[in-house]
């Protein structure tokens, strides 16, 4: 996997506007932006109501994903181009999710909605009508998803990357600062995790930094680019952005996204937590 297989720019999207083998998908947690205006031809996916099980905390089943994509008119052999707001966080999560269920050709639109809007490119309100398909998913690819026991086993042994902001990592904030801070989890981070905020991988217009810059960023922060990595954040969408960078752009062989992330880990009983700006020792503690 490399940048040319995984990423397209806005000019590419506009050049493929009438390409029947390409389907654009806008993904966000709040899809009101799609309703107000989206890239021509794009269908929408709601991160919560479409991609999350309505009862327990998990993904929709393989059969549920098949039914969802069939209803949206997405076929197995089509190139799916994902984009969204929030610097493509939820689009990157959907990219990882499509890979988890085995979709062959998935791409991200570099810069997502933000770069598209800042460039003044056109948005429409027409909702495309796509005939239903018979989509078939694979079983989940367990090699790209980490669970809490994997993370506990990784403390002090495997590369853990916390991609939240420095204030969330240290425990001074419990959520990104566009959200109220009243949360039920303990503040802090998983001991021995390095803090490399997702935002360092992106320019301020939301596009990804160059491969050379990205290698220098993660290598310089002490990540073994030949070793195993688990990325996490608060609910797994910002860490999907970093998973995309490490696994899809830089081609690291074994990168997993811990989608339980801090909202799970910070609520577990009896696990070590580290406060402050340092990665800390495996037993955790206050800085």
């Amino acid at each position: 996997m490399s940048r040319t297989d995984a990423l397209v720019d806005a000019d590419w999207v506009q050049a493929h506007a009438d390409d029947p083998t390409v389907v654009l998908v806008e993904v966000d947690e709040d899809t009101s932006a799609y309703d107000a205006g989206h890239i021509a031809g794009a269908v929408k996916l709601d991160w919560r109501s479409d991609l999350q099980d309505p009862v327990r905390r998990d993904f929709v089943s393989k059969e549920g994903f098949e039914a969802l994509l069939s209803a949206r008119g997405i076929a197995n052999d089509e190139t799916v181009v994902l984009y969204g707001g929030n610097n493509n966080w939820f689009a990157a999560y959907a990219y990882w999710y499509f890979k988890l269920y085995g979709h062959g050709d998935v791409r991200l639109l570099d810069g997502g909605r933000k770069r598209w809007e800042l460039d003044g490119r056109p948005l429409v309100t027409d909702v495309p009508q796509r005939p239903a398909t018979q989509y078939r998913a694979t079983e989940q690819d367990a090699s790209i998803r980490a669970y809490r026991d994997d993370v506990l086993a990784a403390i002090g042994t495997t590369g853990l990357v916390d991609v939240r902001s420095p204030d969330e990592y240290a425990g001074r904030l419990l959520a990104p600062a566009h959200l109220p801070q009243e949360q039920s989890q303990r503040p802090g981070h998983i001991p021995t995790a390095r803090n490399i905020p997702w935002s360092k991988a992106a320019n301020e217009d939301g596009t990804f930094r160059s491969d050379d810059e990205l290698r220098a960023l993660y290598g310089g922060a002490g990540v073994d680019l030949d070793g195993d990595v688990i990325a996490y954040c608060r609910i797994g969408e910002r860490s999907a952005h970093t998973w995309f960078v490490l696994h899809e752009l830089l081609g690291l062989p074994n990168v997993r996204n811990y989608d339980g992330s801090w909202t799970e880990y910070g609520s577990l009983v009896g696990v070590p937590v580290q406060l402050g700006d340092e990665a800390g020792q495996p037993a955790g503690g206050a800085a």
């Binding site: 610097n87 933000k114 800042l118 420095p166 204030d167 904030l173 600062a177 935002s199 969408e237």
Partner: protein, 98 residues
């Protein structure tokens, strides 16, 4: 729930006594700018949050007490930024011209 809502989260139901709120309006030539991107940067310049402005050009952030930089990207404009100090239980108001 982790994404940013256009204009920022409402204060309805929020214990504002426990929050350090930063809010304001982005304007160009005196008129509100909808769809500008308001970025909250910490004292190290590191990204902490971002919200798009609403139809009235308004934004709201929930910071921690301390010094911050609010940086604004808007279509067809040069980026603009202003410093702000947030305090728990207070609403720091700042408007940014682009």
């Amino acid at each position: 729930m982790c994404g940013a809502r256009v204009g920022g989260r409402s204060l309805d139901g929020v214990d504002t006594g426990a929050e350090a709120v930063i809010e304001g309006v982005v304007r160009a030539g005196g008129s509100p700018v909808a769809g500008a991107y308001v970025r909250l940067l910490d004292t190290g310049g590191e990204f902490t949050a971002e919200v798009p402005t609403d139809a009235d050009g308004a934004f709201r952030l929930f910071a921690r007490p301390g010094r911050w930089t609010v940086r604004v990207l808007a279509p067809g404009r040069e980026p603009a930024q202003r410093a702000v100090v947030a305090d728990t239980g207070a609403v720091a108001t700042l408007d940014v011209d682009v």
